[in-house]
């Protein structure tokens, strides 16, 4: 059947405007990003404790969201927590994406023993429960924010490796790759100049999904007390610290919890939409 028909249809669809839900998500993410950038200017001493003004309910003068047990302002704490909520997960997603691109491309293109070794390694990592492994390692090595980042990069990489490997396998069989081989191009050029751009939509979609997963994982670890040290501004940490005062100042728990859910959803939706757009306009048929 005529390919031209399909092409016209696709052109018609991709000319469509951005859906409203995506606009809302992007605005939300922009606000969180602004909080990361300008939060420290707005609330320079967000984690300052003031025992005299502890446990004030939401709507109190000077404290629109109230304060917690230690007298920290919930609004200031939540804004300051945006940094830890966004930076870590983005680092995890980007790190595991880079690892995935490197190992996945090698495995998919080179095949043979290298593929076997890399694939068994990913199987091994996939068999580990992410949170449990993170808790154990943090417990043994003393935890800390960047240790958690490094650990999550490792634990998140199998999905990237597998997705890249599958995409590369699929592309490698295509005639344009054989044409590149006929030109005796170096394997690195074939892998990274020819194949990689054609699997990039998969990679980027997966990285966006990983940001959302990592945000939840980070918050869970902080909630369990192994992610960030006590006293740090962090949404997960806020949940665990304010559990006891849930009925004195509900905002102390509801606001960070809601933010975790909303930001994770927004990142997911944007990632999905981006992937669809790239598949439509890009080469992956």
């Amino acid at each position: 059947m005529t390919a031209s028909l399909g092409a016209v249809g696709v052109g018609f669809r991709s000319g469509r405007r951005m859906p409203a839900s995506i606009v809302v998500c992007l605005v939300l993410l922009a606000v969180v990003l602004l909080a990361v950038l300008f939060g420290p200017l707005l609330f320079p001493d967000a984690t300052k404790q003031d025992i005299l003004s502890s446990l004030m309910p939401a709507g109190s003068p000077g404290h629109p969201l109230g304060t917690d047990e230690l007298g920290r302002d919930i609004l200031a704490l939540t804004v300051a927590g945006a940094a830890s909520a966004l930076v870590g997960p983005v680092c995890v997603a980007v790190g595991s994406m880079l690892l995935g691109i490197l190992l996945g491309t090698l495995a998919g293109y080179e095949r043979g023993p290298l593929d076997f070794a890399i694939s068994r390694w990913t199987d091994l990592l996939l068999a580990l429960p992410v949170l449990l492994a993170a808790i154990v390692v943090s417990g043994v090595f003393g935890g800390g924010y960047w240790t958690t980042v490094a650990l999550l990069v490792l634990l998140f990489s199998p999905s990237d490796i597998r997705i890249v490997r599958a995409g590369v396998l699929e592309q490698s069989a295509r005639p344009y790759i054989e044409a590149a081989q006929m030109l005796s191009l170096s394997r690195w050029r074939v892998m990274f100049r020819h194949i990689l751009p054609n699997v990039s939509s998969l990679v980027i979609t997966n990285a966006m999904l990983n940001v959302a997963f990592a945000l939840v994982a980070f918050s869970s670890l902080s909630f369990l007390g192994v992610g960030v040290p006590p006293g740090t501004a962090d949404w997960g940490r806020q949940l665990t610290d304010s559990r006891a005062i849930m009925f004195d100042n509900p905002a102390a728990v509801i606001v960070p919890a809601l933010l975790i859910i909303v930001v994770a959803c927004a990142v997911n939706l944007v990632g999905d939409w981006l992937g669809q757009r790239m598949t439509r306009s890009g080469g992956l048929a």
């Binding site: 059947m1 390919a3 016209v8 669809r13 295509r174 344009y176 030109l183 191009l185 751009p197």
Partner: protein, 530 residues
């Protein structure tokens, strides 16, 4: 009022009107061919008659089946009463039009219950399916087979059985044989003709190939740019075309033109038969005893082939004969299990590493997947030029050499037509100045007109650049048009080898005769005597 009447006021897409007003009628048991190149609107016309236009497209008009009126603008629910029962659609590609996860039997049976209006017992269904399969000359056991277990020709028969299962009044066949090889094409078309006569079913045959419809349809409608340019009885249109476009289509069709050559005794194709084995010049490529196995299957079983410098060597055979594997072994994309392949007198080890880009390049069948969709044409060609140690500004010269406009360099593959892409693939292959160009079914996916242009281009390149060409094809007419020598391959062995004229005009082997006869019948619609 029996028969099919179609009156389309117009079909419009997101980019504007695509098809002008057109009307036609088909009597029960009669057939009409809709001919045109890709983009002429023939497929849109067909799809509008089953309500399957792509999103963003709309048709106005009416379809009358035995006097029952079906407006073309309609709801999905009312289309469902038309599809299958009044009109069935048979698609081009038997490889994708059947569901890979279902056995063939259920796929034929799907429409039967809807037609009967009640649940049928398993026995009734089995019997009905066996009857349908017998009608398309397939054994009843095919019902239990999955599509991937069948050959292309058999799959298309299953698709036909499914399309006629609910006894439609009109069968629309959209390029039903384009994906098949020559001998299967003829059989499928003859089968369709037979079924039509038996059932008094009208048929609308969509094709880009005028030669194919000769003797197989009653009337022809030639479309171009969404407009009907010529219509009439098939014999009249083919023998005395009125419109210049129809004449161009006939001239571009190697099989039809061939017939004109024979009757008019005019010049032959591009090959110079007399210089066939290029006496005296040592062979550029000499393959001997090449064996290739995939698992337990022996695809090449001791094949010999030699190509002289500057020669166009044709290799013909049906799909599955091993001809492409031979080309890929020579190119180093497959590793032969046994035998030797020598280039310029020096034996080459199996695989790509022992070969240089300056020795040989390949042009593949599918111009859609042989160019990297994420790279611009300029980037693709510059990369290939760099390999040959040539300057990047030679892109312009390269584009001119293959007859592409200079502004093609800034475009992406998706912005070019199939023929243009194939020209880019040829330009890329020529960039390192190879001494051998391997064309693996390089024109099979193209319209006849574009096919003729690419063949002319290859002939011209051979003369200008003095390169040898290994030309793999299932299409005898195409090979005759371009090749100096022909090697016939069947089941992994060379059946016959010689100059184009020797082999194709006076075949010595039974199999070659069969191929030539099938190709001939294909172009004339007659079964040859003897």
């Amino acid at each position: 009022m029996t028969g099919i009447e179609v009156a389309i006021d117009g079909i419009a897409g997101p980019a504007g009107p695509m098809v002008e007003a057109l009307a036609f009628a088909i009597e029960p048991g009669a057939s009409l061919a809709l001919i045109g190149e890709s983009g002429s609107g023939k497929t849109l016309t067909a799809k509008s008659l089953v309500g399957l236009l792509p999103p963003g497209f709309g048709a106005r008009g009416v379809l009358r089946v035995d006097g029952r009126e079906h407006p073309l603008v309609s709801t999905d629910a009312s289309w469902r009463r038309v599809r299958g029962r009044e009109v069935s659609l048979l698609l081009q590609d038997p490889f994708t039009s059947l569901s890979p996860v279902h056995r063939c039997g259920p796929q034929i049976a799907w429409t039967l219950e809807a037609k009967a209006g009640r649940r049928l017992s398993k026995r009734e269904l089995d019997e009905a399916v066996a009857t349908r399969l017998a009608e398309v000359n397939l054994p009843a056991r095919v019902a239990r087979a999955y599509p991937h277990e069948l050959s292309g020709g058999m799959r298309q028969r299953v698709a036909i059985a499914a399309a006629i299962a609910s006894d439609p009044r009109l069968l629309i066949a959209d390029e039903p044989t384009t994906a098949l090889d020559a001998s299967n094409q003829a059989e499928i078309l003859d089968l369709l003709r037979e079924l039509q006569h038996e059932r008094g079913m009208a048929m609308l045959l969509i094709s880009h190939d005028l030669g194919l419809v000769r003797g197989r349809t009653d009337e022809v409608l030639v479309m171009r740019h969404g407009e009907v340019v010529e219509r009439g009885s098939t014999a009249t249109v083919l023998s005395a075309p009125e419109h210049a476009y129809t004449r161009a289509l006939i001239a571009a069709d190697p099989a039809l033109a061939l017939e004109a050559d024979h009757t008019g005794d005019t010049a032959r194709g591009l090959g110079h038969d007399d210089g066939a084995d290029a006496g005296g010049r040592a062979p550029l490529v000499a393959a001997s005893g090449v064996v290739k196995r995939f698992g337990l299957r022996t695809v090449l079983d001791g094949v010999d082939l030699s190509i002289a410098p500057g020669q166009i060597a044709g290799v013909v055979g049906e799909s599955g004969s091993g001809k492409s594997t031979l080309a890929r072994c020579i190119a180093g994309l497959e590793r032969e299990d046994d035998g030797t392949i020598a280039f310029d007198g020096r034996p080459l080890a199996p695989g790509r590493r022992s070969r240089t880009p300056e020795q040989m390049q390949i042009v593949f069948q599918d111009p859609y997947s042989s160019l990297n969709p994420m790279m611009s044409i300029g980037a693709i060609l510059r990369e290939a030029l760099a390999v040959g140690g040539r300057r990047p500004d030679e892109v312009r010269a390269l584009l001119e050499l293959v007859g592409l406009p200079v502004d093609a360099a800034v475009k992406r593959p998706a912005q070019l037509s199939g023929g243009q892409r194939q020209r880019v693939a040829i330009a890329r292959a020529l960039a390192p100045r190879p001494r051998l160009l391997i064309c693996d079914e390089s024109v099979s996916a193209l319209d006849v007109q574009v096919q003729a242009q690419i063949l002319d281009l290859l002939g011209r390149l051979r003369d200008e650049l003095d390169i040898a060409i290994l030309f793999i094809s299932h299409d005898l007419a195409v090979v005759r048009r371009i090749a100096d020598t022909v090697t016939v391959v069947w089941q992994g062995r060379v059946v016959e080898h010689g100059t184009c004229a020797q082999v194709l005009d006076d075949p010595a082997e039974d199999y070659t005769r069969l191929l030539v006869a099938a190709a001939h019948r294909d172009s004339t619609g007659r079964t040859p005597v003897g």
